[in-house]
């Protein structure tokens, strides 16, 4: 996967750093980086031991990967906006919108599948662009703008479908997603491709850093020649396009569309995966490998508990708790990291002091001795 490679590339310059090598890295730092990956392995191993036949099967992995693809692609969409310091609460509704449009265009309007796919993605992209314009030009906070947009496009979906569910889509739509290649449905490959593209762009192209800069300090970014407004609109638009792709995938997977919003319930799992993912590999930062691991982790925990006989309300409980705990944990990890750095810095200063010639320290002592007692 891109995960380990990506993070290894990130820390490699530090690894060469002699000053850093002298200082053993703290446990908290490592737990922060690889904790989630370790948890994923533990959870998978644990459920596999408990239910070897059902859980530890290729079938289970395949199904989980397939089912998590819309969450992962939706997570990428959310990540784009979070990078610039904005939030997109309309992502799930936007996936639903692409879903109803693709199903409707192919089933009711008789569009050829490729054309319908392009149109559905364009509709979602336009919604994202509109979100960006509202946030940037009308100066509505993204929380409010996208919350309103979510409900608004829900209404658009209902209007377009005349409040009628579409129960069967043409085979060409499902084949595009369900066809199995080397044992995995095509949907999984779409997800991997989206992660690869977004991950590589964010990691290796200047645009990734600029997006982060806009999110971290828009004023500093602007004084460096980056136009924060442009990047915000672009991130909303790209987020919309990704939501559209997720909508296409989900249409193929389900082979149907609900007028009331098929994917609306994905909002929380998506946000849980994104925030939990930001605690891994590069703690405190949104990152693609983290999102992938987090989505799988949450899915395995939910499906494992269901296999053990947990009631169906376990899944929302876990997603909700994961969202809150992930954010709490990442702020804690950042505090710990800052503290760690401070200690290292003080230690570094001690090292330097020790290296400074004895004359200086003798002078310092002398100065201290001049006033050893309070001059009261």
């Amino acid at each position: 996967m891109t995960g380990p490679t990506n993070s290894a590339a990130r820390v490699s310059p530090a690894g060469k750093d002699p000053t850093r090598d002298k200082i053993p890295r703290g446990l908290t730092e490592r737990v922060g980086k690889y904790g989630l990956l370790i948890f994923l392995v533990i959870v998978f191993a644990g459920f596999s031991l408990a239910r070897p036949s059902e859980f530890a099967s290729w079938e289970n992995i395949r199904t989980t990967l397939d089912q998590q693809t819309p969450v992962i692609i939706g997570g990428l969409a959310v990540m784009m906006t979070l990078l610039t310091g904005e939030i997109d609460l309309s992502v799930a509704a936007n996936i639903s919108l692409a879903n109803i449009f693709l199903a409707g265009l192919t089933t009711n309007n008789g569009f050829p599948t490729p054309v319908a796919v392009v149109l559905a993605v364009l509709v979602s992209t336009a919604v994202g662009f509109l979100n960006g314009l509202i946030v940037e030009k009308l100066q509505v906070t993204s929380f409010v703008a996208t919350l309103g947009m979510a409900t608004l496009i829900g209404g658009v979906g209902l209007a377009y479908s005349h409040s009628t569910d579409i129960l069967t889509v043409p085979n060409s739509v499902t084949a595009m997603v369900r066809t199995s290649v080397i044992g995995l449905p095509l949907s999984v490959f779409y997800g991997l491709a989206a992660m690869l593209v977004v991950g590589l762009v964010l990691r290796y192209l200047p645009v990734g850093r600029k997006l982060r800069a806009v999110g971290a300090n828009p004023r500093a970014a602007a004084l460096t020649g980056i136009r924060p407004g442009l990047y915000r609109i672009a991130s909303f638009t790209l987020g919309g396009a990704l939501a559209g792709i997720a909508g296409v995938v989900i249409t193929g997977q389900l082979g149907s569309a609900t007028a009331a919003g098929t994917a609306d319930s994905l909002l929380l799992p998506i946000f849980a995966a994104v925030f939990l993912g930001s605690t891994a590999f590069t703690p405190g930062r949104q990152n693609v490998p983290g999102l992938f691991v987090a989505a799988l982790f949450l899915a395995f925990v939910s499906s494992g508990l269901v296999l053990l006989g947990a009631p169906s309300w376990a899944s929302p409980l876990i997603n909700g708790a994961a969202l809150i705990l992930a954010v709490a944990f990442s702020t804690w990890a950042l505090r710990m990291q800052a503290r760690q750095f401070r200690v290292q810095q003080l230690r570094q200063m001690d090292l330097e002091d020790a290296m400074v010639s004895g004359a200086t320290s003798a002078g310092g002592l002398e100065a201290a001795h001049q006033n050893p007692t309070p001059s009261v």
């Binding site: 590339a9 990130r10 820390v11 490699s12 310059p13 530090a14 060469k16 750093d17 000053t19 850093r20 290796y204 192209l205 200047p206 645009v207 850093r209 600029k210 982060r212 800069a213 971290a216 300090n217 004023r219 500093a220 970014a221 602007a222 004084l223 460096t224 020649g225 980056i226 136009r227 405190g284 930062r285 990291q337 800052a338 503290r339 750095f341 401070r342 200690v343 290292q344 810095q345 003080l346 230690r347 570094q348 200063m349 001690d350 330097e352 002091d353 200086t360 002078g363 310092g364 100065a367 201290a368 001049q370 006033n371 050893p372 007692t373 309070p374 001059s375 009261v376």
Partner: protein
């Protein structure tokens, strides 16, 4: 060590302890395996103004955290007004301690009276707030220190110095007998600094003690009765302010002979160097018309009081605000920036005055900050290894400790952050750098590093620098030539041989020169 401290403590004796607002002996505080405080003695008498000085990382902020009860000492004695310290921050407040940080913690939209009442309690009539009585009480507090201020005005509309004084009043209304002010004057210009200090001096007669933490040694010497100097977590000196000269004080703070006060008189920059920047009757909101030039390799100061318009000139040069008239040329080519990108493209670098608000993204690493907008085309991938090497080289050159480019900027100390901000522009071959308050709020050592770096860049690479500041001493220390602004226009120019802070001050205030 501890035995010695014990005896020291008992020799201080209980009879004297009563007149001490703070009596700290042998304070130690350890983070992990590191001692942030390795035996600090700190005594403040009731009714005195006491300066606490030291470089960044010397232990001042740790000491303040211990005083404030935010953290507990790992060793040593801490007494307030003769009582053994106990409890946390709220307990300290009840004991009459108040802490005023750089971020004053005021509610900008609320009136002065409401701000004071929010902490010390509103006057009630029955169950409801008695607005008139609340205002009267606030007025009494304000008048107590002779502070002339309309208490019904929102705090956000007051000058920064007055806001600081409102915070002092709030502490007094709260019954504070010891007020600790952390860098109260870092962003104030001379006139406002004087106002704050004058009013603080008035507190002496009330028996209220003040601890003043500041990097401005001349301010400290002017207002304080006594000073304590920390270095590397130890008290290295406790002296009366009168017996100290500024040079001595700086030597105590840095532990080395420092040249920042006795800056060598520079020979004037030779004539005939090509002009890098020419501003001709430049006008904009808040300034103008101004005409001036900056030559290749020259450091020019543009100074004045905080509201003289010099900062607006800088923002107009970089295209952050638009100029309404006049002309600009850089290296002989016309420049009319319609935005920051144009100006940066023409080779200008801009270091804003407020590093945390406008300059650095704290969550990003040092390397990401320095290369926030990486050079090269958008499709060219970033190379983390070569970036890391380059940034590490810059951090070493600018003496950032530790020189780790992959560390978040927020984890560096203030002085190091400022160096990173400067390295972001000075390290990348700019034609002209505009430096707003290049050493605001950094310690003496870092300040001298920063000055050296700016000078060497200009002398060796031919970079032109425009230093925009309200700190006249800094202008004298750093610049070849200074332009003084008042009310939006340039009122005078001083060459290298005439530069003197007093002359600059006089010109800035509009005195005849």
């Amino acid at each position: 060590m501890s035995g010695y401290l014990q005896s020291d403590c008992s020799s201080t004796g209980s009879p004297l302890a009563a007149e001490l607002a703070v009596d700290a002996v042998g304070l130690r505080k350890v983070y992990g395996p590191t001692a942030a405080l390795a035996g600090v003695d700190f005594q403040v008498r009731a009714g005195e103004i006491h300066g606490l000085l030291g470089e960044n990382g010397a232990g001042k902020s740790t000491l303040v955290r211990l005083l404030a009860g935010v953290e507990r000492p790992d060793g040593g004695q801490l007494r307030f007004f003769g009582e053994q310290a106990s409890g946390g921050p709220s307990g300290r407040r009840r004991d009459g301690l108040a802490f005023i940080h750089q971020d004053l913690g005021l509610f900008a939209q609320f009136s002065v009276a409401d701000n004071i009442a929010l902490s010390s309690g509103f006057r009630l009539r029955g169950k409801f707030i008695d607005q008139a009585a609340t205002i009267t009480r606030a007025r009494e507090t304000v008048e107590r220190i002779g502070f002339d201020c309309d208490v019904t005005k929102p705090v956000g509309g007051l000058p920064l110095a007055d806001q600081t004084l409102v915070a002092v009043c709030r502490a007094l209304a709260d019954g504070a007998r010891l007020i600790v002010l952390d860098e109260p004057t870092a962003y104030l210009e001379a006139r406002q600094v004087r106002k704050v200090f004058d009013l603080l001096s008035g507190l002496r007669s009330d028996g209220v003690a003040c601890v003043l933490i500041s990097h401005r040694s001349e301010d400290v010497l002017r207002v304080c009765d006594r000073v304590t100097v920390l270095r590397d977590g130890r008290t290295v000196a406790r002296r009366g302010a009168r017996e100290l000269s500024e040079v001595e004080l700086i030597r105590l703070i840095t532990g080395r002979a420092d040249a920042s006060d006795s800056a060598p008189r520079r020979p004037p920059v030779p004539d005939g160097r090509p002009a890098r920047l020419l501003a001709d009757a430049l006008r904009g909101s808040g300034f103008g018309p101004v005409s001036f030039s900056v030559h290749e390799g020259e450091v020019v100061g543009l100074c004045g009081l905080a509201d003289a318009g010099q900062f607006a000139v800088g923002r107009a040069l970089v295209g952050d605000i638009s100029a309404s008239g006049g002309g600009l040329t850089i290296d002989g080519r016309d420049l009319s920036p319609s935005g920051v990108r144009d100006a940066l493209g023409a080779g200008i670098g801009f270091v804003p005055a407020n590093r945390s608000a406008d300059g650095l993204a704290g969550a990003l690493t040092a390397a990401e900050n320095m290369l926030m907008s990486p050079p090269g085309k958008w499709w060219q991938p970033l190379r983390s290894s070569s970036e890391g090497e380059m940034c590490r080289g810059l951090l070493l050159k600018f003496r950032v400790v530790p020189p780790l480019p992959d560390r978040p900027v927020s984890t560096f100390s203030g002085g190091n952050q400022q160096k990173i901000l400067l390295a972001k522009w000075l390290g990348f071959d700019r034609r002209l750098v505009i430096l707003n308050e290049p050493s605001a709020g950094v310690d003496v050592g870092a300040k001298s590093d920063i000055h050296k770096q700016i000078r060497s860049d200009c002398e060796n690479n031919g970079t032109a620098a425009l230093v925009i500041s309200t700190d006249f001493q800094e202008i004298v220390d750093l610049c070849d030539r200074a332009l003084v602004m008042r009310r939006g226009v340039i009122v005078g120019e001083l060459g290298s041989l005439e530069l003197h802070p007093d002359v600059l001050t006089e010109m800035a205030y509009g005195g005849a020169v």
